[in-house]
Symmetry: C7
Subunit: 103 residues, 7 copies
Amino acid sequence: MSAIKSIRSIAPLLDRILVQRIKPEAKTATGIFLPDSAVKELNEAKVLAVGPGAYDREGKRVAPSVQPGDKVLIPQFGGSPLKVGEEEYSLFRDHELLAKINE
Amino acid sequence: MSAIKSIRSIAPLLDRILVQRIKPEAKTATGIFLPDSAVKELNEAKVLAVGPGAYDREGKRVAPSVQPGDKVLIPQFGGSPLKVGEEEYSLFRDHELLAKINE
Amino acid sequence: MSAIKSIRSIAPLLDRILVQRIKPEAKTATGIFLPDSAVKELNEAKVLAVGPGAYDREGKRVAPSVQPGDKVLIPQFGGSPLKVGEEEYSLFRDHELLAKINE
Amino acid sequence: MSAIKSIRSIAPLLDRILVQRIKPEAKTATGIFLPDSAVKELNEAKVLAVGPGAYDREGKRVAPSVQPGDKVLIPQFGGSPLKVGEEEYSLFRDHELLAKINE
Amino acid sequence: MSAIKSIRSIAPLLDRILVQRIKPEAKTATGIFLPDSAVKELNEAKVLAVGPGAYDREGKRVAPSVQPGDKVLIPQFGGSPLKVGEEEYSLFRDHELLAKINE
Amino acid sequence: MSAIKSIRSIAPLLDRILVQRIKPEAKTATGIFLPDSAVKELNEAKVLAVGPGAYDREGKRVAPSVQPGDKVLIPQFGGSPLKVGEEEYSLFRDHELLAKINE
Amino acid sequence: MSAIKSIRSIAPLLDRILVQRIKPEAKTATGIFLPDSAVKELNEAKVLAVGPGAYDREGKRVAPSVQPGDKVLIPQFGGSPLKVGEEEYSLFRDHELLAKINE
């Protein structure tokens, strides 16, 4: 049985960042639901948790570039997938994230 | 639904540079529109936003080589694509940019 | 004959971490046993033993990120398999572990 | 429309060097023009512009090995191609250049 | 003719570790000898000799993690094979060894 | 037209070394010329020119290991070929040369 | 014509080590000569000459691990072959040698 009670129990290690992709609208503006194949994946994600940072060459932690709640652009490939219940998440290393999305 | 309201909301991380390719003329000098297949892609781009710089080995930020508004030569391959609405953009790392184009 | 009397006799070297995957339930909520092929492997593991840490560039040991008893997310690929009796274990390097799973 | 008015508007970044291959004679000593297929490409090029230098580990710029006007041997492979009007140029990194050609 | 009089004449260089795999039982508990194909190779080995250690960046030797007589887990792949008489040995680099096996 | 008037005009950059392979005898001891296919290439070369040395991490030039006039063993593969008139030369990096051949 | 008068004229550069494989007996204990195919190659070699050592990061030479006359274990693959007359030699880098063979 999975040891993960909730996604909140995941504490990324070193420079890893836990994110969840932002889901594209599955229905049109007029409210018609679209089949899965018509919904393109977005490379946008929400940061759920950040690691304490990797060590630099002097043995100090490098603070992560993002904070929980930030919206970020993620690369098209890479990352480690994680499934909790029916939801999918990914873990990236801090330097793999491309950009923050400001509101 | 995409979290990106406008391309201006993209804030590149570390040494990443957000650029948009300069579009080749899609019509001839006499005003005749050319089909897409006759328009060659340019490796010229305009810098829209720059990251704060990657860390060097002493933990200091390395200032990016270019500024928003600069025109630059980009490499033929590489970069991370980004689509906002109908427009396409790319994110490069600062050291991947080849040259500045002065006016 | 194997020199390993018990998994407790394994003392990981440098930055290696000995873990055992958490086994998925092999029966349904109502107590019906599932065939092996219906049981998906989890990427969750329990830390059994940690090495003393690899050396950094100044020759000091880097303390491992996890402790025996911790539950961790392991990557989908990699790690060195180890079989003791009927049980399977893996050795990972500290930086390969993705996250701690808090209770 | 290309933003490049003239090759002189290209300012290489970091340790990049803008060169143009020296064209082989397309006619024989007696003035007979040779077909393209009979003209072998030379690995000789003229330096048109040099970048300010890459940063070394102490954050200081490393001065490029060549100056505009220098003639250089370029490697058989590599370099980033650039076309301005009908002319072809290449961008190399300073350490990829093989030798200076003295007169 | 081999210059190796005995395995004891092998003195590993730098960070190399000379080991011999521990042989699996070739007979059953009741004393019946098993054919070779029924005997699975173990990844357990005994350390026979250790090198003086590789140099770190300050030019100091890094002491090996194991001592002659130690029992160790070796990786499934890698190592340099060595045959002396009918016996087979392997040389690993210190950091390739996975764990010590305590008694 | 080639800018190279003479091989003497080639000044290697950084740690590059200009060499010319020593030609094997194309005739037998009794003066009979051998067909090309019977003449094996030698990995021996004469140093014609040396670069000023690459920079080490402190920004100082590393003096090349060989001097013009030295005879050297070159590796079987690698090097950048250079043709001037009918003669063939190669450029190697200093650390690629295997040995000096003393007389 | 080869510039190498004798193998003694080879002076390895940097961290390279000149060795000659020890030849296996081509005849049996009772003096019967064996065909070539029955003679297995040994990974044992005699050190003939050593380079002055590669430079470490502080610009100091690292003394080679072996001396001329030493017998060594060489890896199964790698090394640069060298033929002088009918004899075959190899050049290895110091850190590629596996072990010294003491008498």
